[in-house]
Amino acid sequence: MKRVPQPVTRDLALILGLLAAAGLVPLVAGDYWTGVGIALLMAIALTQSWSILSSLSGYVSLGHVVFYGLGAYVVVASWGSLPIAVSLPVAALAAAAFAFVIGLPVLRVRGPYFVILTFGLAELVKFCVIAIEAAQGRASRLILGTPGLDTLFFLMLALAALATLLAWGARVTRLGHGLRAIRENEEAAQTLGVPVARYKLAAFVLSAAIPGAVGGVMALRATYFEPIQVFDPMVSFSMIAMAIIGGGDDLRGPLIGAIVLGTLSELLWASAPQLYMIILGLLLVIFVLFVPEGICGRLLRPAPPMARR
């Protein structure tokens, strides 16, 4: 196994340890905190997955909610016919398959055009799902008999751990080296032997799977499925914000970003959702302009011999 120096693997151990400790929450705290925990774990799972594609390769996806939404749709639509032990993996597979199918043409588009393309794609899928549901006479769906909060917590915990593992794996293998080269200069990377199309597609597919399962779990949590809610662009936006604020290159970045946003959301979402969004927007602007390397990049790991961006 090809390894990069210690820091990344050390981070993995740290994060997995923290997640294991988090497993105590449903056992010692009440439903409210379990709920908060689920939200936090979801944020970590989503952002880690997003970073596999966007932080490593530089192809910033503003439409990642599409995988989340597709996963939710799969689970809700198959409710009653499939047990969740099957439908959740299927949700992940469906999201990955979708990424595989659209990946090649989508990843040929570069820079800011890729960003708005992913956004447009997510919106397109959203409106298509709305139309499909409407054709069946449905504006929303309701599911009954879903698992309890504690079960959902542990499901989400597993997903957060899996996502972190995937993100670690992507970084330490050849794939990670290739993706970083692609981010720095794609044409030079290809000329030096990096199979760019294959690697971009791999990153895309890997970044899609877990969000699919996460969407499925959240559908179980909400018991209510409405396309316009589930395919909300703000989910995509939050992933990016968390990665940028936390620091995309670092394995710990999504954790920190999730905590920052989670705290803000706990304080503001119920009382002043617009203010929350305004602050989120401000944070994004400030970090993009002045702290593009994120909190991890700026505070936690000052210039080692290996320069990190």
Binding site: R174, G178, A181, E187, T191, L192, G193, V194, A307
Partner: protein, 246 residues
Amino acid sequence: MSMDQPLLQVRDLGKNFGGVHALDNVSVDVKAGVILGIMGANGAGKTTLFALIAGNETPSSGEILFRCRSIVGLRPDQICRRGVARTFQIVRPFAGLTVLENVTTAAMFGAGLHASHAGAQAAAAEIIGEVGLAGRIHSPAGELTLSGQKRLELARAVATGATLVMLDEVLAGLTATEVEEMLVTIRSIHARRGLTLLVIEHVMRALMRLSHHIVVLHLGRKIAEGEPEAVAASDEVQRVYFGEAA
């Protein structure tokens, strides 16, 4: 491929860009171990030739054989794995990565000689020493001087394990001293690793000194080929280069 077959064979190569003939029926054979210099004014088609061989562009006509096998239509990364590498005229470093990471990447992905990261890194370190960048091995590539970045281009190309290395104006923008140093570096790498080099240069005297053999391109066509002295003396070349400092 038998020993006396040329390493690289370019046959009637042509490239059109919307009506502009960047290259027009160019043929050249390159034997293994040779340093072939490629001369020509701006727009003569030199960089286009490299782009076609390396796979960054596809030819409009003609054939390119490397080790007697056609490489036309292959992707750049596939061609690199066959053993062909190039540098870019305008340097393209992986600016956010260190010099070591830049060259290690090339070593990892090129002709695929290194199965492990450690092996690739060791090979990279060696080449970095050979090009004289050992003192900056952990610096971010974006912070190197122009001379350093040119050496980095060279190091990356060599680190891919290629047998045919194409250098595109690696001397451009360097001071006279830096040019001398670079020539020494290129010659020693060429000798030590048994490479075949294609070299594009504007610094004509350096090109004459470096090359075993010269090809002159003008407006996409080959107008002269041969030993450096013969080519420099040829009437055609004199006419085309009237006024250019030699």
